[in-house]
Symmetry: C2
Subunit: 132 residues, 2 copies
DNA sequence: CAAACATATGAACATCTGTTCATGTGTTAG
DNA sequence: CTAACACATGAACAGATGTTCATATGTTTG
């Protein structure tokens, strides 16, 4: 039961049945799409991105990261938990300190592609800075 | 002025100066990291992910997408605006209808890598479902 | 055991985000 | 021009999110 009330949301000649029928079976299950969005949410925060960048260079303990990013130990710890739950980092205990490291090479690719996109779309953005 | 008050946030022997000095210059500017996080925020929503998946198959008009995803035309339009501002989709007018299409091939790579990560980390997750 | 330290975590709070609802804009047909 | 339609958008509201603060857990040292 599609939501077509207000006017009539596209007459029949607008919704192209061939396309709809072709696209529908290609869609992954809702659960996969949900998990995927959840994963990208993890990348969608400056603090977590900065943490990942820091870990590109070397494994590191919590307080090192906190100092590097000039943030509270608590804030960093909370975010490391999010990154760990997303399987993007792993932790290793050594005495009192806990070392965190990247746990997946897809991270580099994803962030790299994100950066490339920024470069490229920035290049394209010339004379129409704001086109809302 | 790093925030080291509560206890002392890691004694000097914990924060490894060599590592800090090595990592610091490798960090991109704050602005780039902010933009990157903003970009991934766009991927961090089920509706937008579903829209992108739909556009993988074919360019499409707003009401087609709304019908496919069984959502309001308004909701879809709002999200298309977000995707367009992030330069992930472009639009083309043809009479009354507006067609949207992917505007960047990095999108496929990024989503593909995200999916791969899910497969892989799902595989690794065996006997420790919840390890908060 | 107690003290010191590195890290983890729960609650609270302010901010951000996505959808809905109502309405505005741009285009075509009559 | 007017009506109908496809789409865009502003305001508002509920739900999600990140940081802070206080405190708990786990480890080493004496």
């Amino acid at each position: 039961m599609a939501k077509r009330d207000h006017a009539q949301v596209c007459a029949e000649f607008c919704t192209h049945p061939e396309i709809l029928d072709k696209v529908k079976p290609e869609m992954p299950d809702e659960e996969r799409l949900y998990d995927l969005a959840e994963l990208f949410k993890v990348f969608g925060d400056t603090t977590r991105i900065r943490i990942l960048y820091v870990l590109f260079e070397s494994e590191m303990c919590v307080c090192d990261i906190a100092e590097l990013l000039n943030m509270t130990q608590s804030a960093i710890s909370h975010q490391l938990r999010v990154l760990k739950q997303a399987r993007l980092v792993r932790s290793r205990r050594e005495g009192k300190t806990v070392f965190y490291a990247l746990d997946d090479d897809h991270v580099r690719t994803i962030i790299g592609q994100g950066m490339e996109h920024l470069e490229e779309s920035h290049g394209r953005r010339k004379k129409h800075e704001e086109d809302l």
